[in-house]
């Protein structure tokens, strides 16, 4: 359940932003999350209200944009879709695979009043 810590970190970042440029309510928080990243969207949604409660982000809507996993296969010389990390190339079975997308864990933007 390290999603709780991730959410705490997100709220802290928003509160830092609030100190820099004061705003009222936070209406929406947008995250960009890789499909193969180390966080579960459902867990984030589940914990969000608890963690945001009492902060400047209380009552905000959580929007999660998911980025599909992708990698560059050195043997296929092509970009391939990935559904698991650290596995072989799903097309040729080769090991010369570098993950290029799907690992994102980012606080992208917030909508404030």
């Amino acid at each position: 359940m390290h999603e709780m810590s991730l959410l705490e970190s997100i709220i802290e970042t928003i509160e830092d932003e609030h100190r820099k440029q004061p705003f009222g309510r936070v209406r929406m928080i947008r995250l960009t999350l890789g499909a193969l990243a180390t966080a579960e969207p459902d867990s984030l949604r589940f914990c969000f209200a608890i963690i945001a409660g009492g902060s400047v982000a209380e009552g905000a809507r959580l929007e999660i944009d998911t980025v599909r996993g992708a990698g560059w296969c050195g043997d296929c010389r092509a970009s391939v879709a990935l559904i698991e990390r650290y596995g072989p190339c799903p097309v040729c079975g080769g090991a010369r695979l570098d993950m290029t997308a799907g690992d994102e864990l980012q606080l992208t933007e917030i909508e404030v009043e």
């Binding site: 970042t13 864990l105 992208t108 917030i110």
Partner: protein, 275 residues
């Protein structure tokens, strides 16, 4: 932006609207305070920055830190107790113990002769760089010493949190499944060394060492793997040798900015003993 009233909320309808313009007497078109702030920052950025501070501080103090991660019951504490007993005469060792609750592990470490700070994470499932920073304040960082950080027994979350260590060491015992590196790949990908512990039990369990090594190498082709037994002491000499070499590498590297994620892997890589 709403094309009718000019406010920033384009989602409302003026027929069935969220707000009514008949009542919205102070609403001035184009004067809405609603706005979007681009942040675009990694969620773990704060932890990573604190970890980098810990790393610099440890290197400046010439302290070599290892972050021990595993599932509960792999024998991490017994391994540390044995290592302290064998090594502390040659080299000072301090320990940061992470557990959800109790100071049982720190008590065992202190009984073995090393100073220990117990961190209780409460509801938390992992240590983070902030907790470790406070523990460093409590320890006297002796130049040339080793710092062992025993993370919370959990093969998932600790993989994501850099603490400022030189290397993550993952401990897997032969009483667990040999396919664990495939089931929890993030942790085995994040570690630079895998200790296969409890090899004294190999005659009594069905554990395919070759399959386990293959699984670990599949997620992390460069991982060093050493079979050990904290109980019998078998294989620990190779582990101590790995520590000496890896800590010498840190000294040579100096106080640079490289981190464990930079995949510095010059210690011995091969399995020294295959059963």
């Amino acid at each position: 932006m709403c094309a009718i009233c000019g406010c920033g909320d384009g989602s409302h309808s003026h027929d069935l609207g969220d707000h009514s313009h008949a009542l919205d007497v102070v609403h001035i078109p184009g004067w809405s305070q609603e706005r979007t702030i681009r942040i675009e920052r990694a969620i773990l950025e704060k932890n990573d920055a604190l970890a980098q501070t810990n790393r610099s501080r440890l290197r400046a103090a010439d302290v070599f830190a290892l972050n021990f991660v595993s599932s509960p019951g792999s024998g991490k504490t017994s391994l540390l107790v044995r290592t302290i007993t064998d090594v502390i005469a040659r080299r000072p060792i301090a320990v940061i113990e992470g557990d959800q609750q109790t100071s049982l592990d720190a008590d065992r470490i202190r009984a073995a002769g090393a100073p220990a700070v117990q961190l209780n994470t409460g509801k938390g499932c992992h240590l983070d760089a902030h907790m470790v920073a406070h523990s460093l304040d409590e320890l006297s960082l002796i130049p040339g010493s080793l710092l062992f950080i025993e993370n919370v027994g959990n093969l998932v979350c600790p993989a994501a949190f850099d603490l400022g260590e030189a290397h993550k060491v993952v401990v897997l015992s032969v009483t667990e499944g040999e396919d664990k590196p495939l089931k929890y790949p993030n942790m085995f990908a994040a570690a630079d060394l895998m200790l296969l512990n409890k090899i004294d039990l190999l005659p009594h369990v069905e554990f395919d060492m070759q399959a386990c090594v293959a699984a670990a190498r599949r997620v992390n082709p460069a991982i060093a793997i050493l079979p050990v037994s904290a109980r019998s002491g078998e294989g620990l000499g190779a582990f101590y040798h790995w520590i000496e070499q890896a800590s010498r590498n840190q000294q040579i590297r100096g106080n640079g900015s490289s981190s464990s994620s930079s995949r510095m892997r010059s210690p011995p890589k091969e399995v020294s003993r295959m059963t």
